[in-house]
Amino acid sequence: MMSLKDVPVGQTVRVVKIDGDGAVRRRIMDMGITKGTELYVRKVAPLGDPVELTVRGYELTVRKNDADIIKVG
């Protein structure tokens, strides 16, 4: 199990669980990142952060720091 933060661009991964608590975690789940969801790491912003993901057919951007709580396999 690794953190989403460490997934290289161009890879597709599956969410195993989401750590943390409170607003950020709820926000991430509300946006459709839930257990078992497929995430495609589409690109990294010019300055190396944040990352752009394809989730459930749309584009979502997440800071690496916030992506850290998303554990994928």
Binding site: K17, I18, D21, G22, A23, V24, R25, R26, R27, I28, M29, D30, M31, G32, T34, K35, G36, T37, K43, V44, A45, P46, L47, G48, D49, P50, E52, V55, R56, G57, Y58, E59, L60, T61, V62, R63, N65, D66
Partner: protein
């Protein structure tokens, strides 16, 4: 009886467009998440049904969680104000995530009609939706619409009226596991009797999720809470997860099933939007493209396209009108004071301001295009890293960018920033970015500065505009770093989780409407506040005490304005503009920034005795500034000090706290003063040698550098700053 429709949906799904189409009002539409921050009401157009029907546009939300201002506003409205029907807009091209909100809306006990919006794009994307099937799974009617093309709206309004009138409380589908459904039933039973049957499911789920706001609202007894906690614990243990995840997972699992049954996709392929995005926000080209676009926007609006029309108004139209009016009035044997008041005061002053209307129109046009096509939100993506380095979120960038058009909507859009500290910081610093009204000042002073350094004579210079834009950003970032290291602004960096909507070709109607709305506000201001301001300024500069008697004065130096300006000018002498005219102009700038120019215009006309040539007026204005450094310092001060009254009023409303508001005003003016002093004194150092003021400048600079580079005492803060969600309730 009049029906109440509530429009709900995800941000950026065409909700405001739908609202405008249904009500005929001209609400502003943008292509970034969170344009509608407050709810708006309108009466439905007669052609869609009963014109008594009230339509409420709720803020765009992804969920009914208790964490953001928008979500709380929306759910309070739906549960507290009892609309007859919710029209739930679902973006057909992004159906999975949009239906997530739907699964929550159908639990609120208010009948729901789904508008499957952007249905016209489905065919192009090769998506087929079986609306009947989808409706039967979700337990509500589904009407395909295209708000933009006005398709399906008749049917939607008719269906909403029927559903609202029926007021049937069909229970929503059971979407959770057997155990969870049983727990919901148990909790429903112990809820207070005051909650109507059809709303019980929503409350039960929320309270199982441990929603603090709902718990507080219901004031349950200890024994009731114990029962709920036990139900929650049993399920959490069985699923080996927490309740929020269990509920969210189940909702999405239900949606996936529904989508599988009712939606057919024929192979995913890269859309044009994806292809554009690959280049525009790529690692290599992202930043150069951003800088290039911003430079182009400013260059085109100020220099080439806008500049052309501005020159024409200033050099041809205004003098022509002045002469015509002046001749006409002379022919009528009007009083010479009156002629001077009209020709020099009103027409001269307003002409100076109206002359910049084309530049502003072009700037608004370009910004609207950037907003509408979806690039604005990409800027937050590209720039977030930079902003985070300075302790702000990329989200702060949107208010700053809008402020480059006008500070008022810029400050208002800061509402989408969740954390209190970041929001306050953004409100305080947003107006450092030169707004449309400061452009005339920049153009005028830019001309004066170039005339000193390059050409030796006055030419209207626009190359200053892009530069002042970057100076504004620098001021924001410097302030952010300094303030972030103080206690009230400290806190963990705000989370950054944001949707990047698809690019689309800007809609001419939306863009032009937006430009017109902003221009109209400006012209209205020109017709009222500025009209009065120019008259007052003309009076103050033309009348005074001369030869022991009050009356029309021969030289403006003995005017009332000169006396007032002269008294205050002492304060500004260290900044290089100690003449009374620039000081008087600065004061008038607090009514509206563009009146700095009109005031200078009035003063220069008076001084040069009604010469209408821009170059002569420019020369007259230039004579108030001893050097390019002084002119620049004046420009810098007027760029950074407190904004115009309209923006100050907005700041007060958005801060919603008197102490913070006054702190913001104080900070802006002190920061403006100190920055201008440092720049001016160090600029003239080589020429003038070391003086006491140089020492002051150096000390201030050292203090500023210390505040900038000292280690952050709150660096390891683990907690987020407070969110004033309660304020919205």
């Amino acid at each position: 009886m009049a029906l109440k429709f509530a429009l709900a949906g995800n941000p950026n799904c065409g909700k405001t467009t739908m609202f405008n189409a249904l009500t005929g009002s001209n609400q502003y539409v943008g292509n970034w998440p969170g344009v509608t921050v407050e709810k708006k009401e309108g009466k439905m157009k007669g052609k869609f049904g009963s014109s008594d029907t009230i339509v409420t546009d709720l803020p765009g939300i992804y969920s009914l969680s208790p964490y953001t201002l928008e979500e709380v506003v929306s759910r309070d409205y739906i549960l507290g104000e009892n609309p007859d029907v919710i029209i739930d807009l679902v973006d057909a091209t992004n159906i999975e995530r949009n239906l997530y909100l739907t699964t929550q809306l159908i639990e609120t006990g208010v009948p729901v009609v789904i508008a499957l919006n952007m249905a016209d794009l489905l065919k192009k994307r090769g998506i087929r939706v079986d609306t009947e099937r989808l409706g039967s799974i979700l337990g509500c009617e589904v009407v395909p619409t295209s708000a933009l093309r006005g398709e399906g709206l008749d049917k939607l309004a008719k269906q909403a009226a029927i559903t609202g009138a029926e007021n049937s409380h069909a229970l929503p589908p059971e979407i959770f596991s057997k155990e969870l459904e049983a727990a919901i039933k148990n909790v429903e039973m112990i809820l207070p009797a005051s909650i109507p049957q059809q709303k019980r499911r929503w409350y039960a789920i929320k309270i199982l999720e441990n929603d603090s706001k709902v718990s507080a609202q219901l004031s349950l007894s200890d024994s009731q809470l114990k029962v709920i906690a036990a139900e929650r614990a049993a399920i959490e243990k069985k699923e080996d997860s927490d309740m929020e995840s269990i509920v969210t997972d189940a909702r999405y699992a239900f949606i996936q099933k529904a989508v599988k049954a009712a939606v057919k996709k024929s192979g995913e392929k890269l859309t044009t939007s994806d292809k554009i995005d690959q280049i525009v926000t790529s690692r290599i080209f992202g930043i150069p493209i951003f800088v290039g676009i911003m430079f182009l926007v400013y260059y085109l609006s100020i220099n080439s396209m806008g500049g052309f029309f501005t020159d024409w108004i200033n050099d041809v139209a205004t003098p022509w009108v002045q002469e015509a009016v002046s001749n006409g009035l002379t022919a009528l044997h009007a009083n010479s004071v009156f002629i001077s008041a009209i020709s020099n005061g009103v027409i001269g002053g307003l002409g100076a301001v109206l002359g910049f209307t084309p530049q502003m129109a072009f700037l608004f046009l370009f910004l609207s295009i950037l907003e509408d096509c979806g690039y604005m939100v990409r800027i937050a993506f590209v720039m977030d890293r930079v902003f985070r380095h300075f302790g702000l979120s990329g989200k702060s960038f949107i208010p700053l960018l809008i402020s480059s058009g006008c500070g008022v909507p810029g400050i208002m859009s800061s509402k989408t920033i969740d954390q209190d500290n970041d929001r306050r910081l953004t409100i305080m610093t947003a107006t450092f970015i030169p707004c449309g009204a400061k452009l005339p000042v920049i153009a005028l002073m830019g001309g004066i500065i170039t005339s000193y350094s390059v050409t030796g004579k006055f030419t209207a210079g626009g190359w200053m505009a892009p530069m002042m834009y970057f100076v504004g950003i620098a001021a924001v970032l410097i302030s952010a770093v300094m303030l972030k290291k103080t206690k009230p602004f400290s806190g963990k960096a705000a989370p950054f989780v944001m949707e990047l909507p698809q690019y689309h070709i800007p809609q001419p109607k939306t863009v032009l409407m937006h430009v017109w709305e902003r221009l109209k506000a400006f012209l209205k201001k020109a017709g009222t506040v500025l009209f009065l301001a120019t008259l007052v300024m003309w009076f103050l500069s033309s009348f005074g005490v001369e030869g022991g008697r009050f009356g029309l004065v021969d030289t403006p130096n003995s005017s009332v304005l000169a006396a007032i300006g002269g008294a205050i000018a002492v304060i500004f002498r260290p900044l290089g503009f100690g003449e009374w005219q620039p000081v008087a102009a600065t004061i008038s700038g607090f009514t509206a920034k563009e009146s700095i120019v009109s005031t200078m215009g009035v003063l220069a006309h008076v001084a040069s005795d009604a010469s209408e040539d821009t170059a002569v007026v420019g020369q007259a204005i230039a004579s108030w500034f001893p050097s390019a450094a002084a002119a620049f310092s004046f420009l810098l001060f007027n760029l950074l000090d407190s904004p115009c009254l309209a923006a100050i009023g907005t700041m007060a409303a958005e801060m919603n706290d008197r102490k913070w508001f006054w702190f913001a005003i104080l900070y802006q003016n002190v920061f403006a003063y100190v920055s201008s002093l440092i720049v001016y004194q160090l600029w003239i150092l080589p020429a003038n040698g070391f003086t006491a003021w140089t020492a002051v400048a150096v000390v201030l600079l050292i203090i500023m550098l210390y505040l900038l580079f000292r280690p952050d005492p709150y660096k390891n803060m683990k907690t987020y700053s407070k969110r004033s969600v309660t304020e919205a309730a």
